[in-house]
């Protein structure tokens, strides 16, 4: 059964709009609709290229029930396949592993190359005969999922119908082109996950706006005041917030992280935090970036995968400083947990009407609601 929620009120201007109806946060049927129209029909983040650093590295990922396989090929490319054998549908790779010469199905040993081609089909024509006229190998390669790596995030468009990544995200790629340079993951200490009892969208909605900073992050706000922040909103594209007063972390000797090369003056004290719709949250600073991948588990559960990157390899960073940076961000993101979980709880109130946006402060969040509603409407009209 499909529930057709009413979205007209979400698609109004921020001054008049309401937020998405409760069902978008609580109802499994609407979650299924969003899976298709919002998450599969756009460029969603499913993993990080740094998790498959070398040729043959393979990592299985379950994205909203869809089994995917990330594979680094011999030319250095990251490939994403449906993790399902073309023969009788066996799951191909169940644990992260190093593929040596072939992705071998554990059932009847059909073998695929790192580029997904079907290399051999042992005994398919009878014992000792690996060819059969009805087994056309060039039609039986792994199903490739469109993918694109940006800021180390592996984005996929599962339904295959979205515009190319560079087209869909052209505006943002242009905005941040200065950060199109090598990123080095900070190592094991620069990686953490948070498990949240909330719908994935509430994490986006909270990340977009700076309105909550003085209340939820008083520590952050003591040096980063509300008026030092600006809204970022591009209708139909992305939204977030920027800061004019980013201060670099220093160790006791006053050493800071190395800067990214050739950044313009804007970034001396500037930083930006943008939600790349649907489910990736990025932050950029002169000396580090981070990526948060929101893994929607079900309508009320989300896992946040947080990864932090620097301008130089982890071994070249000031000792202990990246651990402090991780701890600082972890504290900030943990401070947000009670609000994203609290908004989820609040949506059990049957009289909640989607809420009322502050035209001055909630624009970036409304921009996201507007985008989600537009994706769902588009899905309903085809």
């Amino acid at each position: 059964m499909t529930i057709h929620t009413e979205l007209g009120s979400v698609l109004r201007s921020v001054a008049e709009a309401r937020g998405l109806p409760n069902a978008h946060y609580t109802d499994p049927a609407v979650f299924a609709e969003e899976r298709q129209s919002v998450l599969f029909a756009n460029w969603a983040g499913v993993g990080f290229a740094k998790d498959v650093p070398e040729t043959g590295d393979a990592k299985p990922v379950n994205f909203l029930g869809m089994p995917l396989l990330l594979v680094r090929d011999e030319d250095g490319g990251v490939n994403v396949y449906q993790n399902t054998c073309r023969h009788r549908g066996m799951i191909l790779v169940e644990e992260p592993q190093k593929i040596r010469g072939a992705i071998r199905c554990p059932y009847h040993s059909w073998c695929y190359t790192l580029k997904g081609a079907l290399r051999t089909t042992p005994h398919v024509g009878g014992p000792g005969r690996s060819i059969h006229e009805d087994i056309k190998r060039d039609e039986l390669g792994l199903i490739r999922i469109r993918s694109y790596v940006w800021q180390d995030v592996v984005f996929v468009n599962i339904d295959g119908k979205a515009p190319a990544f560079e087209v869909a995200n052209q505006h943002l790629l242009e905005r941040w082109k200065e950060f199109d340079q090598p990123l080095y993951h900070g190592g094991a200490g620069a990686s953490f996950t948070l498990s949240l009892d909330t719908n994935w969208k509430l994490a986006v909605e909270n990340y977009c706006e700076s309105y909550h900073l003085p209340w939820v992050h008083p520590g952050l706000n003591s040096y980063s005041r509300l008026e030092d922040h600006y809204n970022i909103e591009e209708r139909g594209l992305y939204s977030g917030q920027g800061s004019l007063v980013y201060r670099q972390l220093k160790d006791d000797a006053g050493t800071v992280f190395p800067d990214f090369g050739a950044l313009s003056d804007k970034w001396d004290t500037g930083s930006e935090y943008i939600a790349v719709y649907p489910n990736v949250l990025l932050g950029v600073h002169r000396d580090h970036t981070f990526a948060i991948l929101l893994e929607p588990v079900d309508q009320t559960h989300t896992i946040e995968h947080v990864e932090i990157y620097y301008a130089r390899p982890a071994d070249d960073l000031p000792k202990g400083l990246s651990d402090r940076n991780t701890a600082q961000w972890k504290e900030v993101f943990e401070e947000d947990i009670f609000v994203v979980e609290g908004m989820q709880k609040g949506r059990s109130g049957i009289f909640f009407d989607g809420g009322k946006f502050s035209p001055a402060m909630d624009g970036p969040t409304h921009n996201f609601h507007h985008w989600v509603a537009s994706q769902i409407e588009a899905g309903r009209s085809c």
């Binding site: 040729t55 043959g56 011999e74 593929i99 040596r100 010469g101 072939a102 071998r104 040993s109 073998c111 290399r119 051999t120 042992p122 005994h123 024509g125 014992p127 000792g128 005969r129 690996s130 060819i131 190998r137």
Partner: protein, 102 residues
Amino acid sequence: MQELSDRDLDAAIMAAHRRDEPAALARLYGKAAAEREAAGDVDAACFYYTQAYVFALSAGLNVAADFNERLAFHGRDEIQSDLRSLQEHFPPDASPIDEPGI
């Protein structure tokens, strides 16, 4: 004598399966295949070459190209032209592959 040697080979293959050692399996199946081929039993040889080929592929061994060539020669598989350079991309399996007595 031949009988005993076959039994030893079978046992070694079973042991390598239990230890999940593709490089050893490639070598042992390859040996079984060559023996059957020399004896003129092409069907049995190609069964073993197929097994050897798949395990050599799994282990990233250049010898996969040899097995593939035998199979293609007997019309049992398609030739794969890029197999000679397999080990350049994939470091060989570090697990021990020598079976005592074989």
